[in-house]
Symmetry: C2
Subunit: 346 residues, 2 copies
């Protein structure tokens, strides 16, 4: 089976996908009978390029990060053209990897809507559309018989959504607790080690873990989006971001963090949701002091983890990288494989 | 789709499967369009019962553990009849859950061979046939176009084999390290807490974690079988048990265990295998002193965990129950669902 991919956004993640496709070309063909080509790329900074026979992956891998760089390709343009990329006949799967907009999800939400209404499959690493309109987009996709997959929105390529849908599918998930932001986790560990909260955030920024504005990580907004995605997808909830109680890490005193550590305990920013006895869902992001025995307490630095509370297996936990361009690109590939399976089983 | 199950062995695990089938009957029908009935049971102590329309699950759930108890069913017998159960026309899937024989794998190996040669699918929780003859049985099953699944041989129902085959299938697995025996893990923790090795083993026996003869757990034989199963299945190896370097936990001094703990380190019995640069596989079971930062170091008590070393995702870890009748029965159900998927995708 051959799939033409339209890449919307050509930052770290979709550049990572180019590398992954180069690395895995043979295995995809041999093991899964899949050929993937990139038939278009649209990026607000780099411009636009399209080739229904597939753009050259080696050239894409080495593309400089210069304004309009995609215009070097035949028929390339210095301006983006998202709609052309999404709607082209050669496009089978839209790969949405633009930046997350936590307010209204745009322009990614529009990319998703355009893709689905044009009967294109869509895979995305963008938390905006999934956290804000995930259930609605999922229903639209189902009605159009297209795939809408988003493994990379939570814990990069570490399998979470796919883990549940493949491996826990005969279990009932009653809730989950997770460490879903590596930056906050790293900062807390630095404070445990003696740094002030302010210095710890600076170190995280210097190491490239935290953005120039660290609010999303430190105040729990990033985890809030992930909790909504997980609760809606895994617990059958219909949460909005306002339904999640949110508290960041900056108000925990440094002394509290350090004296906990001396007792073998660890403060962690925990995102969680669970089904109440009356069927409602409670969801929160908040700093919690975990005992040494807690499976999540030893999750350190940029590692993320999620513990599922299941009916038949008790607590099952998955941990792994929470970020990274190649790791997140792997999530896109996993989503594409899922769409391929869906198509082949029909 | 309807499947008739023949249960070979009716101890804790297959009794657990009866409970799971009762619990999940509706979901299996609604979500997966699957109906499962138990068309026969053969057990060396309880005897034999068969009904091509399905034995009554409630009656099976309450079956007393008395010699010949299965003879209460119409046409039931006080003696087992494994071949009759395996070969019956009504049998689609053989569920092998007899005790592990680590020496020659019998009689489970024969059950597997008989099932496969009669074109029956087989799911098993028995480490014997899989560790000793897994590759050969897998090839036989493939040639006969039957399923041969064994998720429950490692970490009970916590997804391990299914995790890799579903979720890491586009990764290369370069190796793994795991805590794969809850009894050894529990004993080491008791010693950390001040108990002598001898007393710790006694406590494990009193709590039902360890067998009357604790050798398999304490000396690493149980983990050795699991390492062979994982290496052969996940790394494409063809290991025999003699290829695994094995060392149990009894020779670590109690002082060493306790002083490590004071430094935040933990001695764990680690089963591991990895692919060497020349393509050969190294595999071992041995006690290792893990630093606090090691993802495996906080895995406590009866919990098991495995960390996979992958090319694209770095280290990915799964942890959960390492034993338990319902948990292990879930593995059988997961295997049955996998066989159903295989059938439906053809």
């Amino acid at each position: 089976m051959h799939y033409g991919l339209a890449l919307i956004g050509f930052g770290g993640v979709n550049r990572g996908l180019v590398e992954v496709l180069l690395l895995k070309k043979q295995i995809l063909k041999q093991n899964f009978d899949i050929e993937l080509s990139i038939v278009s790329i649209s990026d607000m900074y780099l411009g636009y390029a399209a080739d229904e026979n597939g753009l050259d992956l080696e050239a894409l891998k080495d593309l400089p990060s210069e304004k309009g760089a995609l215009s070097i390709f035949p028929n390339g343009k210095t301006e983006s053209d998202n709609d052309a990329a999404i709607c082209a006949k050669a496009t089978d799967i839209v790969v949405e990897a633009t930046f997350t907009n936590p307010n209204d999800g745009e322009p990614a939400v529009s990319h998703c809507r355009t893709a689905i209404s044009n009967e294109k499959h869509i895979v995305t690493t963008n938390k905006g559309p999934v956290a804000l309109f995930g259930n609605e987009l999922g229903e639209l996709a189902q009605a159009q018989n297209t795939g809408f997959e988003f493994e990379g929105t939570v814990m990069s390529g570490t399998p979470v959504l796919g883990f549940v849908s493949s491996n826990l599918k005969a279990c009932t998930i009653n809730g989950f607790r997770g460490i879903l932001n590596g930056t906050a986790n790293f900062v807390l560990q630095q404070v445990e080690g003696g740094a002030s909260m302010t210095d710890a955030i600076k170190i995280a920024q210097e190491l490239g873990y935290a953005e120039a504005d660290p609010t999303a990580d430190i105040e729990g907004f990033d985890v809030m989006l992930k909790v909504v995605i997980l609760a809606n997808q895994l617990l059958g909830a219909n949460l909005k971001t306002k339904d999640v109680i949110r508290e960041g890490i900056v108000n925990i005193s440094e002394d509290k963090i350090r004296s906990a550590k001396e007792e073998g305990k660890h403060w962690k920013l925990i995102g969680q949701a669970s089904i109440n006895d009356d069927g409602t869902i409670s969801a929160s992001v908040s700093p919690i002091c975990l005992s040494a025995e807690d499976t999540l307490s030893s999750i350190s630095g940029p590692i993320n983890a999620i513990a599922f509370d299941t009916d038949l297996l008790g607590t099952v936990m998955v941990s792994g990288a929470g970020a990274g361009r190649i790791e997140t690109a792997y999530a896109l590939l996993a989503d594409i494989l899922k769409i391929d399976e869906m198509k082949k089983s029909k």
